[in-house]
Amino acid sequence: MPSILEVQNLAKNYGDFTAVKGISFDIKEGEIFSLLGPNGAGKTTTISMLSTLYTPTSGDATIAGHSITKDPMAVKQVIGVVPQEIALYEDLTARENLLFWGQMYGLSGKFLTSRVDEVLEQIGLVDKAKNRVKTYSGGMKRRVNIGVGLLHKPRLLFMDEPTVGIDPQSRRAILDTVKDLNKQGMTVLYTTHYMEEAQELSDRVGIIDHGELIALGTQKELTQQVGQTETLILHIGENDDPEALAKSLDGVEGVLEAISTDHEVSVVANEAEEVLAAVVTKANDRGIKIRSIDIREPNLEAVFLHLTGRALRN
């Protein structure tokens, strides 16, 4: 599969602060590629540079053969962007918003109206199309926000955390929409800090942290980086000290690594069940109350934890 996007050493500095540190990756035509990372990792800045909104400090990227720095107008014709914030005119109806944005992408006449009808169908808002956006729920606004990005049938769609702050039902609908779009042949660059979303959607994942692309590959390739380990997640009381518990687990037989986060301790082991009794005993010895225990098989969360020493959501 040829690459539709090739990023070469893309960097963005704000004074002394480096938001994106010379990242490089490519996206094959027809795949869903997720940029996974916590808030502030540089995902939105990367999307903003790729969509020609921000000028890179150094590096470049080509989209369908067009340089984002040298030929931004050609790039804009190829891409669709669903920004993280809901970028709509709240005093216009969904239909009016779609008509306006469609015209901004050069659509007109019957093609425009038929595309608006199709997109309204696609986002499930035909019945509410004549209501002003400000009367919509957060999830409905998100769907219109996505619809705007689809109007001109872009070859490459950038979706920047499109499920932030919405109910599970709307989230499910959005994830299904992304999969449908991909089935229809659209290439998607999806950014998220939800490991589950990246796992469900992605053909390949790039993990980004502090502006650096720290891992890149298929999910299988990434989880292999942390080996065939399992992770015990101990949820402890609010007044208990997770760091003290993590330290006390050092040297316990079978425990490979113990990392503390807010009210949680993640214990990495080859077999979680084998170390469970010892971990609980250590907690009891220290008077730490365990509220619940999860056992997780290798996943992107574990990869992130393994690579950064921090949980993804922190």
Binding site: L53, T55, E90
Partner: protein, 419 residues
């Protein structure tokens, strides 16, 4: 160009859906205009609010019509409105105007009456040489356009009535002579009597404002001053509202979204400016239409009015863009815009006739689109046409162009969105 229009029309559509903004842009100036109408007696036939216009009368004619015009300026009907002083030296009178001590000088030249009413025994004498036309000079003070305009309107009306009387009188006398009803020997005395009555019969009909009598040309309706005054003041709110929408769109993400669509930055900025322009024109247009419909305000030459509205909105929009370019948040534009609206309203004559302000304040007022706009609307209300609006329209266009230039430099320096 299409995208500019689309962005501009979208902004206009959004304005009409913003009830709070509409209240401030349309209802508030309309109600304030009504209030000013009551305060100034426009609705009760009371005082006009404009009074004691200083005018210098130089009567070099010293004959029937010259004296009649001088009497008119000194009449009781005009006592509240005018403050005439007599002078015998035209040059001294002009100097008084140049030194801003009066609104206008009316110089009635020697021979004015004789140019209209020939000397005795020469009226129907085929051998006599007709007298040369002599014109009354109104030397106007450009820094007091309202007062000067009123004086000029009074003189124009007087002259037109004298001319009207002369023409109809001559037609009647000739008709009577041709039909044999008037003896040629008595024709001159009859005609002279008709001419000499012109001032007595007509001058009392010359009033500053009346809905019942007098000619339209002399009517100066105070609402034709206060209605545009209020419209121009709230126009400053509208342009800052439009400017604020640039920053609001930046904050809500629609501006970055516009920038990543296949649209040039200049098109986005141009569209936003066009939106401000559309909003301003719509606001002033609606207010003017409403005051014409509800208050029967006579706005004068429609072509001049349209040109003036466009120029005033252009000048004001320039201010809106500069305020926006300096501000960082929509709230800053809102507060700065409201402050400037009030300052320009006071300074530009929306509440107080500029002629009542000290000369230095009148000079400062020239930075406001309100002052130039009011100057133009007053000219129109006093019977002026597009050709009389060259100065205010040119000033407003220059103001707008300079301010837009400043705004573009600032936007280029700071960027429309964070880069």
């Amino acid at each position: 160009m299409k995208k500019l229009l689309l962005i501009g029309l979208k902004d206009l559509q959004l304005m009409f859906r913003d009830r709070a903004a509409l209240t401030f842009m349309l209802l508030a100036p309309f109600l304030l205009t009504i209030g000013m109408g009551f305060v100034t007696g426009r609705f009760s036939g009371g005082s006009t609010g404009i009074s004691d216009i200083p005018v210098v009368i130089v009567n070099l004619d010293q004959a029937e019509l010259g004296n009649a015009l001088e009497d008119l300026f000194n009449s009781e009907d005009m006592a509240e409105l005018l403050e005439p002083t007599a002078s015998s030296d035209p040059e001294a009178a002009r100097q008084l105007i140049d030194s801003d001590q009066a609104s206008a000088a009316v110089i009635i030249p020697q021979g004015f009456t004789r140019s209209i009413i020939p000397a005795e025994g020469t009226m129907f004498d085929a051998n006599s040489v007709p007298p040369e036309a002599v014109q009354i000079e109104v030397y106007a003070n450009p820094s007091r356009p309202t007062g000067a305009g009123i004086v000029k309107a009074i003189v124009d009306e007087f002259v037109s009535r004298v001319e009207e009387g002369r023409t109809s009188g001559m037609t009647s006398i000739v008709g009577l002579m041709q039909s044999g009803l008037l003896n040629p020997q008595n024709a001159e005395s009859e005609a002279r009597a008709m001419f000499e009555n012109v001032d007595e019969t007509e001058s009392t009909a010359i009033t500053l404002k009346t809905d019942k009598e007098g000619a339209a040309a002399t009517e100066f309706d105070l609402l034709a001053y206060f209605a545009p005054g209020m419209a121009l003041m709230f126009l400053m709110y509208t342009v800052s509202y439009g400017g604020r929408s640039i920053l609001a769109e930046r904050a809500q993400g629609t501006l970055p979204r516009l920038m990543i669509s296949p649209t040039q930055t200049a098109q986005v900025l141009g569209g936003k400016v066009l939106g401000i322009f559309f909003m301003g024109v719509a606001q002033v247009g609606i207010l003017i239409l409403a005051s014409a419909v509800f208050f029967q305000v006579k706005w004068g030459d429609p072509l001049g009015m349209i040109a003036l509205i466009l120029a005033a909105v252009f000048g004001a929009a320039g201010w809106g863009m500069v305020i926006t370019a300096f501000a960082r948040t929509p709230a800053q534009v809102g507060s700065t815009g409201s402050a400037i609206m009030l300052i320009f309203g006071i300074l530009g004559g929306s509440f107080i006739n500029l002629e009542q302000l000290p000369p230095f304040m009148q000079t400062i007022s020239k930075i406001t689109p309100n002052a130039w706009g009011l100057d133009g609307f007053t000219t129109l209300a006093l019977g002026g046409t597009l050709k009389n609006l060259t100065e205010p329209i040119t000033a407003l266009l220059i103001m707008g162009a300079v301010l837009f230039g400043i705004a573009v430099v600032l936007f280029n320096r700071n960027g429309l969105v964070q880069k």
